[in-house]
């Protein structure tokens, strides 16, 4: 039966002129034509490696320019607590920037993880269809706002408000940067967390509701635990983005290279230091290389957080058979 259908389908080719038949199948064309027709696979294959080439360029040049940190500056100097490139002797301690970045990022996550997970749960589990679309569009728009505009908003609105409200000497503090960064990381975390919740199969929810759980109990005790690794992945990726954010933090963090435990004091981040000092640094000087050293730290953090986030998100996908 099947055979006959197949014959019937192909039957019209019988007795047709040769060049109407599929050329690959019959192979009647010459070698030249074949080359002309087969350039595509190797060319596209070659070009597809462009992103690897770009990544390789970044790794090579950032590490190469940072190499003198090991030699002429020395690791002991680079991980000391004093950043004073113009002092004598100059000191290139990256610790104040490491603590500054860590502080600002962690404080930002305290804002954006609860809000992000909440928004994700609302969009994925609670909101009606139209609300879902609107909320997702708003998140996308919020993610699209340029970081210099966030920084400008922080500088003009948030910093003066905090300064007046808390009676500070300056409004440009770690807290200001954390608030702005928290808003910036919110859309990243919320939309990835929403993906994670959506990846949980409906059968989980149905089983839970069938046992008599309310929708909220289902979200809290079933959906969230089932999506756990995806939520972790979302948080880690949000963290990576926050560490690497430059302009907004540069404009509101105050940029004092000091180690402090207080959120109400100005701090300096890794990204801010590079942005602030690179333009005035002579090419090839120790200072120049030290700034690339900060770049290496940023790059390594970015690659690790990215890899971890991918792994966690992949684990969720594997678990639910996607």
């Amino acid at each position: 039966m099947r055979r006959r259908q197949q014959e019937a389908r192909l039957g019209f080719l019988e007795g047709a002129p040769l060049d109407l038949r599929p050329t690959r199948a019959t192979g009647v064309r010459g070698v030249a034509t074949r080359i002309k027709e087969r350039w595509d696979r190797p060319v596209f294959f070659g070009v597809s490696s462009i992103s690897l080439v770009a990544l390789g360029l970044i790794l090579f040049f950032i590490f190469r320019e940072a190499a003198p940190v090991l030699g002429e500056i020395g690791l002991a100097n680079f991980f000391s607590a004093r950043w004073s490139p113009t002092g004598s002797p100059p000191s290139y301690g990256a610790l104040p920037m490491l603590t500054g970045s860590a502080m600002v990022t962690l404080a930002a996550l305290l804002v954006s993880i609860p809000l992000g997970f909440g928004a994700a749960a609302f969009i994925a589990e609670v909101a009606p269809r139209w609300m879902k679309d609107v909320a997702k569009s708003v998140l996308e728009l919020l993610a699209g706002v340029p970081s210099v505009v966030y920084g400008f908003f922080g500088l003009m609105i948030v910093a003066p408000a905090l300064q007046a409200g808390l009676g500070l000497a300056t409004g440009r503090t770690a807290l200001t940067a954390a608030v702005i960064l928290g808003i910036m990381a919110l859309p990243t975390i919320a939309s990835l967390a929403e993906d994670a919740l959506t990846a949980v199969p409906d059968s989980y929810r149905e089983a839970s509701m069938a046992l008599g759980a309310t929708r909220w109990q289902t979200i809290r005790d079933v959906t969230f635990p089932a999506a756990f690794s995806g939520l972790i992945g979302a948080s880690i990726l949000g963290m990576g983005r926050a560490v690497g954010e430059t302009m907004a933090v540069l404009m509101v963090a105050g940029n004092a290279p000091q180690i402090t435990a207080s959120l109400l004091k100005p701090v300096r981040t890794l990204t801010g230091t590079i942005a602030l000092e690179m333009a005035e640094t002579p090419f090839g000087s120790s200072h120049y290389h030290a700034l690339f050293g900060l770049g290496v730290i940023l790059l390594v953090i970015a690659l690790i957080t990215n890899g971890l986030a991918e792994w966690f998100r992949g684990r969720l996908a594997r678990k639910h058979g996607r």
Binding site: T23, L142, V149, M278, L298, A302
Partner: protein
């Protein structure tokens, strides 16, 4: 857990749910609020600075008067250059991933590469641009260096968007073309690509809006504080709108006198980016609804 569910008093359970859902709604509203606050601030303070002269004139008197024309033109050059460089590579890369690859290790390696590239902080792109384009290749601080740096930055965005658009084209479109005797490339060029164009354009708009707002990658590769003329060659420095906002707000000696101009410039940038994003998002939604293949 079952014991818990049964034990709980129904009225308390309902109350707990109401409180929880209220909190979830508030979290979502915080995103609306943030966007609204930013938009409102820029509109309320910047609208008065907007005029045709603001868009079409050079800054005057140490940047305390006049407009943002050279910054607008500069941003246009940088962004257009980035797209012209990145788009062909991104398209070819996406075509290979979606149409030619047969899975396996290499595809995984490339995906890791694309994702990692997307996660590299923008200031690190700036460092690469400085070390490679500006110094090693000797392009100097110029439109060319800046555009190439931005091209690398938007590459992963364009690849992901194009690949997604290509994969949304149903399999039977390809099968139909191949059954008619088309070669693979012929099928891709005449059937798959045209069907994927709306999706690719959406990704392109998102890439452009990202490139136009980036400051960190062009700070040491292209941007000039102030110029009295437009760039005339690829090797010229250039003013750019986001960098202009940054220097006006922080480094300019007269920053307190130019509040209106700063808000005006920020409003123009925010407006351009939001209009592009909103356009792309709504258009994508419309295309998805219409084309139920």
């Amino acid at each position: 857990m079952i014991a818990q569910v049964i034990a709980a008093n129904p009225r308390r359970r309902r109350l707990a749910q109401r409180i929880a859902f209220t909190l979830l709604t508030i979290s979502t509203l915080s995103a609306f609020l943030a966007l609204g606050a930013i938009l409102y601030t820029m509109l309320a303070n910047g609208a008065s600075a907007l005029s045709w002269e603001f868009l079409s004139q050079f800054p005057r008197k140490m940047m305390t008067e006049g407009g943002i024309y050279p910054a607008l033109v500069g941003s246009f050059y940088l962004t257009a250059g980035a797209v012209i460089v990145a788009l062909p590579f991104a398209m070819a890369s996406a075509i290979w991933l979606s149409e030619y690859s047969r899975g396996g290790l290499w595809v995984r390696v490339i995906r890791v590469g694309v994702n990692s590239l997307a996660g590299v902080p923008s200031i690190v792109f700036g460092l690469l641009g400085l070390a490679f384009f500006v110094k090693v290749l000797g392009f100097g601080v110029s439109v060319l260096s800046g555009a190439l740096t931005l091209a690398l930055l938007i590459l992963p965005i364009l690849i992901r968007a194009s690949e997604e658009a290509l994969q949304a084209v149903p399999m039977n479109f390809r099968e139909g073309a191949l059954a008619l005797g088309a070669s693979k490339w012929h099928a891709v060029r005449t059937v798959v690509l045209p069907s994927a164009i709306p999706g690719i354009l959406t990704g392109l708009v998102l890439g452009v809006s990202r490139a136009i707002g980036e400051t960190a990658p062009i700070m040491f590769t292209a941007a000039a504080f102030y110029m009295t003329r437009l760039p005339e060659a690829l090797s010229d420095k250039v003013m750019a709108l986001p960098y202009h906002i940054f220097v006006m707000a922080t480094e300019s000696p007269n920053y307190w006198r130019t509040r209106d101009l700063q808000f005006g410039a920020a409003l123009v940038l925010l407006g351009m980016v939001l209009v592009m994003n909103l356009g792309a998002v709504t258009w994508r939604a419309r295309v998805r609804r219409r084309k139920q293949w």
